[in-house]
Symmetry: C2
Subunit: 495 residues, 2 copies
C-alpha cells in the first residue's frame, strides 16, 4: 500500500487521473463490469450513509415522509410530459422482456422471445411521472395538501461519458416530491430545500457553495424554475451539487391531479422536486483532498482518530496499550470514532501512509519515549502538521482539533474559491482566462443566444444567477452581445 500510494498521480500532473486514482486507491469505489456503473466499496459507502442519515433527519424535521415508488415506469407515462421525455429519452434503459430460457441447442441462456412485454418499461431516471400518477389518487381536497414525500433509491441514466460518483449510469440519490395548493407555497418549498442542501453541504461536507437559479436552458426537464448549489473544485471547475425545482402545474396537468379548494372548486396542484445524489461524494473528494490522498472533514469521516503504537518489545506495547485504553474510552464517550491499530503484521510507515490515503483526520502516535516523557505525537491530516503534546488532556485536545479541522477545510475551500472568482465583462479576456478555470461573475443580457455562444466558444456554461448578488440594479453590458445586462451570472466550466 505504501508503494501503491506513491503511484497516486499528482494533481498538478493530471487532475482527472488523480481523482480516478484516489477513488480506487482509497477504497471508495470501483468501476463495475456494466457500462458506466460503479461499485461503492464499504469505505465509500460509510461516508454516503453518514450523509444520508443527516439529510434524512433534516427532511423529517420539515415534515417530509419517506415512501417507495417502483423502479420501472411504463413508457406511456414517461411520454406524458413533453419536456420531461425530451430531456430523458436519450438516456433511458429499457426493459423489453421478462424471461430467459435455454437455447434450443442447450448451450446458451437466451432472452425468451415469447416473453416480450406489451409495453416497454423504463428504469426510472427520476420519478416525477410515476409519483404524479400516484398523487392523483392521494390528493382530492386542500386538506390533503401539502403532501411532502421523499424516496431514497437508485436511478439510471445511460450516460455516454462516465466517472465514478460524478457521472454514472446508475447512481444513488434521494428525490423529494411535494404537492401544494398555491404557486407561492410550492416556490417557497423549492427555495427552502435549496437552503437545506446548501447548509448541509457547507456544514457537513465543508464545501462552500453558491446558491442560485438556473438559466432557462439549464433547467430540469419539465420545471419552471431550477434552484442549484454550485461548488468549485480544485481545478477551478464547477460541480452542481444539488438542485431543487419549482415544477409549476406541469406534472399536475399531465397526470390530471386536481384538488378542491376551500371554495370547493377544482384547481391543479403545484409541485416541487429536489434531489442530491452520490455525486456529493465527488464534491467531497475533489474539494479537500491532496497528493497524499483523501482529506475528510471530521464530521463525515467514518474513522476520525487513529492511534498507532511504536514499540520494539512486547512489554512496551503492553505499557502503551495500558496507557491508551482510558483515552480511547474517553474519546468514544465524546462520540468520536477511534481505532487503536496495534496490528503487528504492518509497519508504522505503512500504516501512516494508509491512514493518510484514507483521510483519517487525526493520527496519534505513541512510543516508548513518549511514555517516559508523558507526551504523544498528534498529526492533523488537513495540514499534515505534527506536534508533540502532553499526554494529559489529549482527549479534549483531539475533540477541539476535530472541530478546528472541520472549520479549516471549509475555510481553505472558501478562500480558494474567492481567489478563483473573477468579475469579468470583456469577452476576449474571458476566453483567455477560462482555460485556467475559476468562476466568472459576468453581466448577462438574459438571452439563450449569448449563453449558447459562450458554450460553443469555451465549453463554459452559466452555472447560475446567484441569489446573494443584488439582481435588481444590474448595470453594465453583456460581454458577448454588448446589450444591456439583466443579470449578473456565474459562468464556469463544469463537471
Amino acid at each position: 500500500m505504501a508503494k501503491e500510494l506513491k503511484q497516486l498521480t499528482k494533481r498538478a500532473e493530471n487532475y482527472s487521473q488523480w481523482y480516478n486514482d484516489l477513488v480506487m486507491k482509497a477504497d471508495l469505489a470501483e468501476t463495475a463490469p456494466v457500462r458506466g456503473c460503479m461499485i461503492i466499496k464499504p469505505y465509500g459507502y460509510a461516508i454516503w450513509e453518514k450523509m444520508q442519515s443527516v439529510l434524512d433527519a433534516d427532511f423529517k424535521r420539515l415534515g417530509v415522509k419517506n415512501a417507495y415508488f417502483p423502479l420501472l415506469i411504463p413508457k406511456s407515462f414517461f411520454a406524458r410530459e413533453a419536456e420531461h421525455v425530451k430531456g430523458f429519452a436519450k438516456e433511458s434503459a429499457v426493459v423489453t422482456h421478462y424471461r430467459l430460457k435455454t437455447s434450443d441447442d442447450g448451450k446458451d441462456i437466451i432472452v425468451d422471445p415469447e416473453a416480450k412485454l406489451d409495453e416497454e418499461l423504463i428504469i426510472r431516471p427520476t420519478s416525477e411521472t410515476m409519483i404524479w400518477h400516484t398523487y392523483k389518487n392521494w390528493i382530492h381536497s386542500y386538506r390533503d395538501l401539502p403532501l411532502l414525500c421523499n424516496q431514497w433509491c437508485n436511478v439510471m441514466r445511460w450516460e455516454m461519458r462516465t466517472r465514478p460518483f460524478l457521472r454514472t449510469s446508475e447512481f444513488l440519490w434521494q428525490e423529494g416530491h411535494t404537492a401544494h395548493a398555491t404557486a407561492q407555497e410550492a416556490e417557497e418549498m423549492a427555495k427552502k430545500m435549496l437552503h437545506v442542501y446548501a447548509d448541509f453541504v457547507e456544514n457537513w461536507l465543508a464545501v462552500p457553495v453558491i446558491r442560485g437559479v438556473k438559466s432557462p436552458t439549464e433547467r430540469f426537464a419539465g420545471a419552471l424554475n431550477t434552484y442549484t448549489i454550485e461548488a468549485m473544485m480544485q481545478d477551478g471547475k464547477a460541480l452542481q451539487s444539488g438542485t431543487s425545482h419549482f415544477l409549476g402545474q406541469n406534472f399536475a396537468k399531465s397526470f390530471d391531479v386536481t384538488f378542491l379548494n376551500k371554495e370547493n372548486k377544482p384547481e391543479y396542484v403545484w409541485a416541487t422536486s429536489w434531489g442530491v445524489s452520490t455525486r456529493l461524494m465527488g464534491a467531497l473528494i475533489m474539494t479537500h483532498s491532496d497528493d497524499n490522498g483523501l482529506v475528510l472533514p471530521p464530521r463525515l469521516a467514518p474513522l476520525q482518530v487513529v492511534i498507532v503504537p511504536i514499540y520494539k518489545k512486547a512489554e512496551q506495547l503492553d505499557a502503551i496499550t495500558e496507557k491508551v485504553k482510558p483515552v480511547i474510552e474517553e474519546l468514544k464517550a465524546k462520540g468520536i470514532s477511534v481505532k487503536y491499530d496495534d496490528d503487528d503484521t504492518k509497519r508504522p510507515g505503512f500504516k501512516f501512509a494508509d491512514y493518510e490515503l484514507k483521510g483519517v483526520p487525526v493520527r496519534l502516535v505513541i512510543g516508548a519515549r513518549d511514555l517516559e516523557a508523558g507526551t504523544v505525537e498528534v498529526m492533523r491530516r488537513d495540514t499534515l502538521e505534527k506536534e508533540s503534546v502532553p499526554f494529559d488532556g489529549i482527549a479534549a485536545r483531539v475533540e477541539n482539533l476535530l472541530d478546528d479541522i472541520q472549520k479549516n477545510v471549509f475555510e481553505k475551500a472558501r478562500k480558494f474559491r474567492e481567489e478563483h472568482t473573477y468579475e469579468c465583462d470583456n469577452y476576449d479576456e474571458f476566453k483567455k482566462r477560462i482555460n485556467d478555470g475559476g468562476f466568472f461573475l459576468c453581466p448577462w443580457d438574459g438571452t439563450a443566444e449569448t449563453e449558447a455562444k459562450i458554450k460553443e466558444d469555451t465549453q463554459a456554461t452559466i452555472r447560475c444567477i446567484p441569489l446573494d448578488v443584488d439582481q435588481t440594479n444590474v448595470t453594465g453590458t453583456d460581454m458577448v452581445s454588448g446589450k444591456p445586462a439583466k443579470y449578473k451570472v456565474i459562468i464556469a466550466r463544469a463537471y
Copy 2:
C-alpha cells in the same frame, strides 16, 4: 374513514381479501401501475425503516459493512452458476436497449432500434453473481478473510401471482454476502445470521418463528444448505420470513475466487448469503391484526400513543391541552412517540376508528369529566380493553403498558401456533386436516419423492427440518412411503 373501516372484510369471511383490504386501507401500500409492483406508502415505509435501522445495527455489531453493487447484471455472469440461473431465469426482467426516440411520424415515443445492447442486462433478482465477480479482485490472501458485506437495495423477480409485501415483482431487501477461509466458518456464519434474523423477528415484530433447515428441494438456487425461519399466519399457513445460505465453494468456483492460505497454497473461498425483505411487513401484518385493522407491536409502531381530547367548548379544550402537555413531554423524554390529536375537523369516533385501523398501540381519551375526576381513559389496541385510570402517573403506566402489549402480542401468536401445530404420522389424517391449516410435525424418510407426492396431493411443502427438535434419534415411519423416518419435519401450506 369510519365508513370505509366497516368495509374491511372480516378474516373469517375471506382472509385473503381481509389482508388486501387492510394493506390498502391502513395506508401501508398500494398496487403500482406496473405489473406485480407496489408503492410503499409513508405509513408502511415508516415501519420498514424501523426494521432496517434495527437490523442494520445488528449487522454492524457483527462487523458486517454495507456496500453497493450494480442493479444490472450481464446475462453471461448470470449464467455462470448453473443451478443459480436455472432458479432465476424464468423470472428475469431484461434490459435490451438504452434509448428512446420520437417515431418517424412524430406521434410516438418508441424504443430506438439502433440503441440495442451488445449483451442483454438482467435486473438483479439477487446479487451473488455480481458480488462474486467483484470479490475476485478483493480477495487474495487469508488476510483478506473473512469478508463481510451487506447491501440494502431493490431486486426484481418477475412473479406471476403477486400480493403486496408477500410476493411482488420488485421488492426491497438486504442481502449479506460473506467470504470465508473454511467451510466450517462459513457454515457457522450462515447459522449465526439465522439466529440474528430469528431474534429480530421475535423481539421486534413479536412474531414467533421456527428455526430450521430447508430440504434439498427447497434450497436457494446454488446453495449447499439453506437455513430458514418460518412463521405461522392466522390462517395457519406458513410464511418463510428470512433465509441464510451456506453456498459452499459454488460461486467461488464459478467466478474463480481463490485465496492463498497460511501455507501459501491457493484454495477456493467459502461463501454465505442471507436476506430478509419487505416480506417481513406481510408477516407483521398477518400475524397480529384483527377485523378492526392493524395491530402493531409497540417497538415497531411509527406512532405508539395517541391522545384524543373530548370537549364541547373551547375553554374545555384549553384546559385539557394544558393538563396533557407535561405528559406529552414526559412520554417523549422516555423515547415514546406520541401525538395529541386536537384536530377539530374530525369527530372523536372517526379518530378512534382511524387509529384502530392504523394499529396505534395505546389510545388515551380525556374529557371534561376526566379533568374534574382526575382520570383518563386508556385503551390498548391489542385487546381493545378500555379502562379509566388516575391521571397522575399516566406516563409511567403507558410505558409499562407498551411493554406489556409487546409481550402479549408475541405470546398470543406463540399460543396460536402451539394450538395449531400437530404431530402427525398418518397420511389420510394429514390430507384431511391440512385443509384447516396449521403446522404438521411429521416423520420423513428424507427422499424427494415423498416430498413431491405430498406437494402434489395437498400443495403443502416441507417448510423445514426444525433445529429445536432432536434429529439424532428419529423413530417412526414416513407417512407416505412407510419407510423408516430420518427426520422430523414441519409440513404446511405456505405463502
